[in-house]
Symmetry: C2
Amino acid sequence: MRDVAALAGVSLKTVSRVVNEEAGVSPDVRERVGAAVRRLDYRPNLAASNLRRTGARTGLVGVLVQDLSNSFSAGVLRALEDVARSRRTAVLAASLDEELEREQSMVHDLVTRRVDGLVIMPASQRQDYLVAELRTGTPAVFVDRPPRGVDADSVVVDNFLGARLAIEHLLDLGHRRIAGLFHLPQIPTAHDRIAGFTAAHTDRGVRPDPRLVVDGISSTDEATEVVHRLLDLADPPSAIFAGRNILASGAVRALAERGLRRSVALVSFDDFPMADLLDPGLTVVRQDVSRIGRTVGRMLFERIDGESAPPRHVVVEPTLVVRGSGEIPRRPEGQRRR
Amino acid sequence: MRDVAALAGVSLKTVSRVVNEEAGVSPDVRERVGAAVRRLDYRPNLAASNLRRTGARTGLVGVLVQDLSNSFSAGVLRALEDVARSRRTAVLAASLDEELEREQSMVHDLVTRRVDGLVIMPASQRQDYLVAELRTGTPAVFVDRPPRGVDADSVVVDNFLGARLAIEHLLDLGHRRIAGLFHLPQIPTAHDRIAGFTAAHTDRGVRPDPRLVVDGISSTDEATEVVHRLLDLADPPSAIFAGRNILASGAVRALAERGLRRSVALVSFDDFPMADLLDPGLTVVRQDVSRIGRTVGRMLFERIDGESAPPRHVVVEPTLVVRGSGEIPRRPEGQRRR
DNA sequence: CTGCCGTGTGACAACGTTGTCAGGGTCTAG
DNA sequence: CTAGACCCTGACAACGTTGTCACACGGCAG
């Protein structure tokens, strides 16, 4: 900036005025400074500028998701990015991989970087640590999992409802022995899906067989194994509900290995690209990822703009997408057929 | 910081020393300052710190990909993130959506933010504009598409080889009428894949039917349409090569609609999650996304560390992943069979 | 001619931090 | 007892920018 001022023969302040398009600079000077800026490839130092300006924004928001490479996280991030772009804000993204410690250290880092806002898909059970972090006034919005131990905006899917929709759908088709595959039950989303699974049964007077409900499954391979084990039971399930898309792929594989893809019904939570190309197409409970992302973005920027109403907790309703795999009727006997 | 100094009864500089874990502070004072820091929730202002330090890094890298929500971009980003994390660096991510203008403005913004490095999956044809941007010394690494008009490191997949692998595979199975579905030919990746498609044919003395080679297809629906049109020809293709995964899903859909999934061979460029669950499993040319991301990360940080050797251009070899859809033999007559 | 106003410009301090250097205290060797 | 060395600590300037304020100039009314 000093060089620009020297080259244009003006003071630092005048360069600042031109760069910031402030009024009150004669066209002549404005032109001279502009030329000098271009000639020297001058770029204002945003850090210094923010330092000086009172209450300036960094134009940066932090987004902490479970895993940038999974389609749910990536979809939410993408929708958020679009909102951020319209607010001339850049996005700092990171994966938490369900690691509590990483969540805390990332939040700390981002707050230290003075991001204007924070979006968190939490890995931790409780976020008490956030109370201190957010004392600086950084707004935070939770997504996918509600906050515990700290009061903040959130956008979550109604996991209970989603599971119930799926199970009711299967019950309507006559299924009575429905297997449930779930993630770690201490994760709120998994917990609610298990609850929805159970509630749908009991509401209809059906008692779910506890042997058919398996939780703590965290990989596709484990899911394949579990499904094989369930199908080996003397009274195997006639339908399967997968509580997460990666568990659904394990289930699909197990069914395929036994030639049962058209014999055992399957419904999954979470849609994914190309689920409709499977044969039969995979019936899923879909979360509207981009709507979730947009909602989160909108709420975050309202807070950044100074909105100070009490935290809002938006619950997005998932929908059942019928594609075939979930519409296989109960087959009372002779499941081995092709 | 001033408050901390006052509370601890020391000078600003001493607080600075404690915060930065500099040597030469008595344990007593260190402890007092530490307590004050905790009590006041003090956080150093990174911007100010960077401003003062000579040649300090921002601990920030910019990553510009095609679309954060597609699995290739997301996978590369994720692998990059892991490298960045090990270097205590955060990642600023953005989607370009093949928009040239956005590429330029994002690069400009990121350079102004003083990122330590830049990763670009270019949307533009030429990147001459970068010469001026990079004069500040910000290193850049290109991924997926090589740089034009500016000399910089790059990591790209051998698209020519990938397409050739696929076509040779199909030719080996006796196919002679192979359809090719491609993206816009002015995009270098598409261009090379078309070239590989053609070269594989001519190397084997087969003349590809120009009517079977369609480029400029940019959506799944368009691909479906095109495949239907090709299958309506008097002499339809016995195999299809999809030059991109989104085109593959269009092709799968068209084949499914005609009950030809087990009759017409299909090989696609780009793997995607759950491609193995299709029936038959989709045979693809796979790019090792996480290796690409890691390589890019490694190269970028070498530059950030001051490496000044001439730019390197790494070409990653793709591999053919056989899953069934590509191994359907040529069926000389009566393709309509189920 | 004087005084006032508006316009364009610049000097200076300040944002929050750290590098430099100097000073005061304690310790050790001569 | 003194000189030198060493250890801690603090004063001060500087990083690149912008807010505040003052000043110089030309024009205009009295």
